[in-house]
Amino acid sequence: MKVTVCIGSSCHLKGSRRVVEGLQYLIGENNLKDKVELGGTFCMNNCQNGVCVTVDDKSFSVSPDTVEDFFKTEILAKV
């Protein structure tokens, strides 16, 4: 499973760093390091709906406050 987080300026302002750190922690905690590849990307042109996160080409809007729920429903449940 490939999870990509946008690290462009607008998503940065919306907390992409905390989203990345949150996902890194949750992936580690759930021992999914060899099943989930976490990467960053430049601007995905969807600045109003940041932080932009894709899971195997499906797009989502995540915030530092929703990252745990997002992880449970889109990553943990589907990996």
Binding site: G8, S9, S10, C11, H12, L13, C47, Q48
Partner: protein, 226 residues
């Protein structure tokens, strides 16, 4: 070097959190107060973000920009495209109209400068003999290399940043104008001061928001492009 990121003495409680998070350790303690060493600081802002006592402050340029406008100068804003993330639902037309109410002659997204700069990077990638090119768009990265890793200088692209390219272009198109960059970044204040020919001053989104509020201007939520 003027101080863009400084200490609010009365609030510092000598807890050392700032220096623990400083990536280049450019903070010293004396008299039980944290002092940022300007010569070593890369203006990343981490100390400002982590300080639990709100003891760091960012230099405010609002009065100087107001002065440009009040003295009759034509002031153009170079607006960082990330303004859409800071001002939800507000498009370029809406924010330009609000800036004109403050007295700006006009506004353009710094993307204009990015387009100019991108062409130069394409040329570098095509013609340059170096196997590594570090882009020079981020002032803190530039300061990190200049102050702490000078051995990497040969790889730092000698290309203007989008802010500088845009402001240079604005001054060509509107001779005699003043240029003000508006963005989320404190480091750009230092870049503007150091390369004085391009950008006359820098306002952060926070300074702009405060100014809009003081002037009683609300931003219309309108993403439509004409």
């Amino acid at each position: 070097m003027a101080e863009f990121l400084k200490l609010k003495k009365s609030n510092c409680k000598n807890c050392y959190k700032c220096i623990r998070h400083c990536p280049v350790k450019s903070i010293r303690f004396s008299g039980n107060q944290a002092n940022i060493i300007a010569d070593e600081c890369i203006l990343c802002g981490q100390c400002f973000v982590v300080c639990p006592q709100d003891a760091k402050e960012i230099a405010d340029s609002t009065e100087r920009v107001k002065y440009f406008i009040e003295s009759g100068e034509k002031v153009y804003a170079s607006l960082a495209p990330s303004f859409v993330a800071n001002y939800d639902g507000v498009g370029i037309e809406s924010i330009t109209s609000a800036l004109k109410k403050l007295g700006f002659a006009g506004a353009e997204e710094t993307a204009v400068g990015a387009t100019i700069v991108k062409t130069e990077y394409e040329r570098l990638v095509r013609e340059d003999k170096r196997d590594i090119i570090i882009s020079s768009c981020c002032n803190s990265v530039n300061l990190l290399i200049q102050k702490h890793y000078p051995e990497a200088l040969p790889y730092l692209a000698d290309v203007l940043s989008p802010m500088q390219a845009h402001c240079q272009d604005l001054k060509k198109r509107y001779p005699g104008c003043k240029t003000v960059f508006i963005g989320p970044c404190v480091s750009k204040k230092e870049e503007a001061a150091r390369y004085a020919d391009y950008t006359d001053d820098v306002l952060t989104f926070e300074e702009l928001t405060t100014w809009f509020k003081e002037a009683g201007i609300t931003l219309e939520k309108n993403m439509a492009r004409t």
